[in-house]
């Protein structure tokens, strides 16, 4: 216990007298005149139900929330009355709207809540036994699942790390990243289950991945963490999920990747919209984001030389014969180009096209002889 009350209530005579008075029926009832706004709220669609978007009105809404909301720093919900002098200061670090906000964040939250799924029952695990997968392919798949499990565990920690640091005025964002934390926990669950259910079990934890994940977790600001994780890392993982669905050895795995892909795409969309919000509202932070992405891209490059990529080559080629490896390299090369291409597209959409000229990925693609595809990216 580190936060102690300023009063020992059982030793406080005023408090005890007031309690006795209340028990006699002498209520104050001053709280009934809070003076807060009363609005008419209706679900815009009965089928969809009452959403945060329907509540976006007046002092309860988010459109009128200022860049610096000079309200409470405790747990007073937006729109409630509060006494600044008497409320607990929870010491939130993120108090500017542009620190956390994203276009469409309320919609992303509603979508996240609606599209939840269950890793225990929504993947047809019992069907896994129906398919005979070559041993080396199953081993490679287990390595891929091991990597994804590592990634998703940290992706669970990251939103949890920042959620409580956000001012409670931004509850739509807090709700969204809380939903992200449960999404990522479910992803770690489903990949762990898949690795074990296939009979191989977990394979090697990858140092490159862990250093990269530590860099995400240790980002100095939430926006740096978001640019690294939501936009860059999850963008890359989204493309890897697409690839993994493509090369999945069984329909069971296809189903798993279709489901995780949806969640990941939502997180990437939030990241894009947060970056866009920052650039539209606080463009002076561009240089800070460039510096963060310089290092984020550097860490991401390390993924291109690891057991992970060898596993992906084996999976794509469906084996380890020279012909299969050659085919696997071709497919994985396409994946690498696509990861970079989609990252660049998102940067452009967020209004951060200038980042592309500085990106380390251009040099990477040239270094691994993917020049032909690189030309397509440049256009």
């Amino acid at each position: 216990m580190s936060y102690y009350g300023s009063t020992d209530y059982l030793e406080n005579s005023d408090f005890l007298l007031r309690m006795k008075d209340m028990r006699k029926g002498n209520l104050d009832l001053g709280w009934m005149k809070a003076g807060t706004e009363q609005i008419e709220v209706h679900a815009s669609s009965a089928k969809r139900g009452l959403t945060y978007l329907d509540l976006n009105q007046g002092s309860y809404g988010y459109d009128e929330l200022a860049e610096i909301p000079r309200g409470p720093r405790g747990a007073a919900p937006r729109g409630a009355s509060y006494e600044v002098d008497n409320q607990a200061d929870l010491g939130p670090d993120l108090n500017l709207k542009s620190d956390v906000w994203a276009y469409k964040v309320a919609s992303f939250y509603e979508e996240a809540v609606s599209r939840q799924w269950d890793a225990t029952t929504d993947v047809p695990w019992a069907d896994l036994d129906k398919y005979d997968t070559p041993e080396e392919v199953e081993i490679a798949f287990a390595q891929l699942c091991t990597f994804f499990t590592e990634v998703e565990m940290i992706a669970t920690d990251l939103p949890a790390k920042w959620c409580w640091r956000m001012n409670n005025q931004f509850h739509e964002v807090k709700g969204f990243i809380a939903s992200q934390a449960i999404d990522e926990a479910r992803h770690a669950e489903v990949f762990r289950k898949r690795a074990l259910a296939g009979g191989v079990g977990l394979m090697q934890a990858l140092p490159q991945a862990e250093h990269s994940l530590k860099a995400i977790l240790d980002s100095d600001t939430y926006s740096e963490a978001s640019a690294f994780m939501h936009l860059l890392a999850e963008g890359n993982i989204l493309t890897m999920f697409r690839f993994s669905e493509f090369i999945s050895p069984t329909p069971v795995d296809k189903r798993m990747f279709q489901l995780v892909m949806q969640d990941e795409a939502r997180h990437v969309s939030y990241g894009l919209q947060h970056l866009k919000w920052i650039l539209d509202n606080t463009p002076e932070r561009k240089e800070q984001l460039h510096a963060a992405l310089d290092e984020a891209e550097n860490f991401s490059l390390s993924q291109f030389d690891s057991a992970l990529f060898e596993a992906m080559i084996v999976l794509a080629g469906k084996g380890t014969s020279p012909e299969q490896i050659k085919r696997g390299i071709e497919i994985v090369g396409t994946l690498q180009v696509r990861q970079v291409e989609e990252y660049f597209q998102r940067l452009r959409r967020a209004g951060f096209a200038e980042r592309i000229e500085k990106s380390k990925f251009r040099d990477l693609l040239a270094a691994v002889s993917l020049n032909q595809q690189d030309a397509a990216i440049a256009s």
């Binding site: 599209r115 296809k254 489901l259 949806q262 894009l272 597209q345 959409r349």
Partner: protein, 140 residues
């Protein structure tokens, strides 16, 4: 009487399936996207709102669409053949697999936000196309 593919009638029959299978589509969650299916030269507009497909029609302008799945008619026939034979697309014929490598089926889009809708609602879109398994469809 079988429904010819490709035709507006075919896509309207798929639309009706999202209303007939309301529990299954509600389980997948809200899906708010309007996308295109280009079969050869024909472009069909498919609108999803909340849990179901709300509109299907032919259109000329892909600009307002989040994304367009585009392939020659032969490939669409092959895909729906797989759906009918396997009670859902087999491993080689999911829309993700067809669009992922080699541009067998293309995803056309102007806006990466629209493109991301393809991923965000992947399971619903796949379920929508898989509903062809319940149709008496003429793929000849």
């Amino acid at each position: 009487m079988s429904i010819a593919f490709p035709s507006l009638e075919f896509f309207k029959a798929l639309q009706q399936r999202t209303k007939d299978e309301v529990v299954a589509f509600e389980k997948l969650g809200v899906c708010d996207t309007t996308f295109g299916v280009r079969v050869g030269d024909e472009l069909y507009r498919i609108a999803f709102e909340i849990y179901e497909c709300t509109e299907v029609d032919e259109c000329d302008d892909p600009a307002p669409l989040d994304f367009v799945l585009s392939a020659p008619v032969e490939l669409w026939r092959e895909m729906f053949q797989s759906v009918v034979e396997n009670a859902g697309a087999d491993a080689e014929h999911t829309i993700n697999s067809l669009t992922h490598v080699g541009d067998i089926m293309k995803i056309e889009y102007e806006d990466p936000e629209g493109h991301d809708c393809f991923y965000r609602f992947m399971a619903t879109i796949q379920a929508f196309l898989d509903e062809a398994k319940h149709l008496d469809v003429d793929l000849s």
